[in-house]
Amino acid sequence: MTNTPLSAPPAAPGHTAAGGNPVKRFLSATEIDTRLLGMLAALLLIWGGFHLYGAIVNGNGAFLTPRNLWNLSVQTSSIGIMATGMVLVIITRNIDLSVGSLIGVTGMTMGILQVDILPPILGLGHWSIWIITCVVGISLGALIGAFHGWLIAYRGIPSFIVTLGGLMVWRGMAFIANGGKTISPVDSTFALLGGGPGGNVGATGSWIVGLLACAGVIWLLVNGRRQRIKHEFPLRPMWAEATLGAIGCGAILGAVVLMNAYPLPRGILRQMNLPDDAFVSHGFAIPVLIMIAVGIGMTILMTRTRFGRYVFAIGGNPEAAALAGINTRWMTLKIFALMGALSGLAAIIASARLNSATNALGTLDELYVIAAAVIGGTSLAGGVGTIYGAILGALVMQSLQSGMVLIGFDAAIQRIVVGVVLVLAVYLDNLYRARTK
């Protein structure tokens, strides 16, 4: 502390009573991010739209069914995981165009490792194969990302160019690695990570996950309130805290019910020696749980650690960050390494889900990942972005994609719609920011 006797007592922080209509008062009291609400509304609009279109035009509303939503959650995982890393890259005013090719090269490497290299050494189906494979895949991704980061930070090559080069180089490497041949099937334990048959935690497991998550939500609210009391900051009204808790827990338990409402198909039941009419829930798929864990981990990283603070500072004012003693180059290298590691993780999920490794794995993913981050509110001007936004953005992108497949739009139309939505989303975001400024 300082010893500057500059008069004037500390002003008591007065709670400014928000006037206006009940909606405004509610939002102000609960401190809910209105942008988040907007995204959720857009998501519900997309979901409802596809469902109604299917119901009216095709006579079969297939979107809002447990089965489709379960699939949607699995399909979102790999893009969602990478989007959390892309947020950091874009916040610091960089871009990473190479993530799709990184998926290709790490996926291919893991395929060769677990099918051609490890089984002869350890024996086919050895328990450690999937662990070694995952560690190698994530490490390789991190290493390549770190190399990109080094070129950008220490050699002064713009990230656009470095990763554009990476996009081509690593895709080429993925082809060369196995002469363009697809590797299949992968290790059986590894395959579970993709959410295929058996790659889910079932009804009981889902309830345990859901209840733990609810406990987490309540702990966050209680702890937050305790912190505010300790420092005499304005408190949220008790009803607002209760509402937040109810909404949070309600959403979590709703998701559990939804995931549990999708039963295993007959073929799997027969493999498990169960009668055809047995109802066994899928529950959360493993890749979805991985994505949630990554989302929580990355959120903690961005909001609760010095690393995250420095990421935002570099994005807001790189010069100020450097003058504050932050090693901005080293930070850039670490951010790209993290992006690479997350690409490796996404490659695990993508190849496990296909039960094979192909050199085309992850093609065009970089664009979906960037689009997800940007739709999720990450500003290309730097300094602004959230992890939950990016995951929601990935969900929006994937909803559009799979929704159009479901109602029978062909690939050309799909691209047009996704492209238009991306531009529109960023435009709406600009309008929103201009209004709330």
Binding site: M1, A11, H231, I300, R304, T305, G316, A324, G383
Partner: protein, 253 residues
Amino acid sequence: MTTNKGTPLVEMRDISISFGGIKAVDHVSIDLHPGEVVGLLGHNGAGKSTLIKCLSGAYQKDSGEIYVNGQRAEINNPRDARDYNIETIYQTLALADNLDAASNLFLGRELVTAAGFVDDAQMEAETRKIMARLNPNFRKFNVPVSALSGGQRQSVAIARAVYFNAKILIMDEPTAALGPQETQMVAELIQELKRQGLGIFLIEHDIHAVMDLCDRAVVMKNGQRVGTVNVNEVTDDDILGMIIMGKKPAKAY
């Protein structure tokens, strides 16, 4: 009033730095004593800011030596400078616009909890405490500093220097972006800090501010030191003559 006795707080000896063949600072020596305000004057491009950035760690000098409290100091980056209790308030304010006041105040020196996580609540509380003294009207604790006025931003920058117990304060045109009232606030703060025994380097264009606030003035021109004067022994015309024509009055050294 001259306080040129005892060991100087800072002594920069024979500092040179050049950029692409141009000598931005050419063998300049200056010193600063506790409780003293030394003004640095000169045209744009005279080398004032460059010289002072060697002290704050933003630039690395090509040659010369820096002594802090008589001890040889190695300053290679802003972190080193902070370790010597040298704090800088930059002309550009050096704030991250997207972060709030507390995050800016503690940038690079965040308070952390026992678990190693940043302690935002504690930092905000500390920020509220110091702002209550520096700028009691300051209320915008939970918005990015981009939403603050020039004066409010300046008080965040000053709070950063004051909070961390600066011994040596560098102010690069601290009032350039401020209105009259806010300028007055900064002037009072400088007097207050001076009374507490800080040494302050003040880079300033406004000759009247220099006459009011500084004990000594160092004038630079084309990267070289024209001379140093005790402000109470000269007139503002003498100083202007030094700045414009490089003319050294008899009292200068």
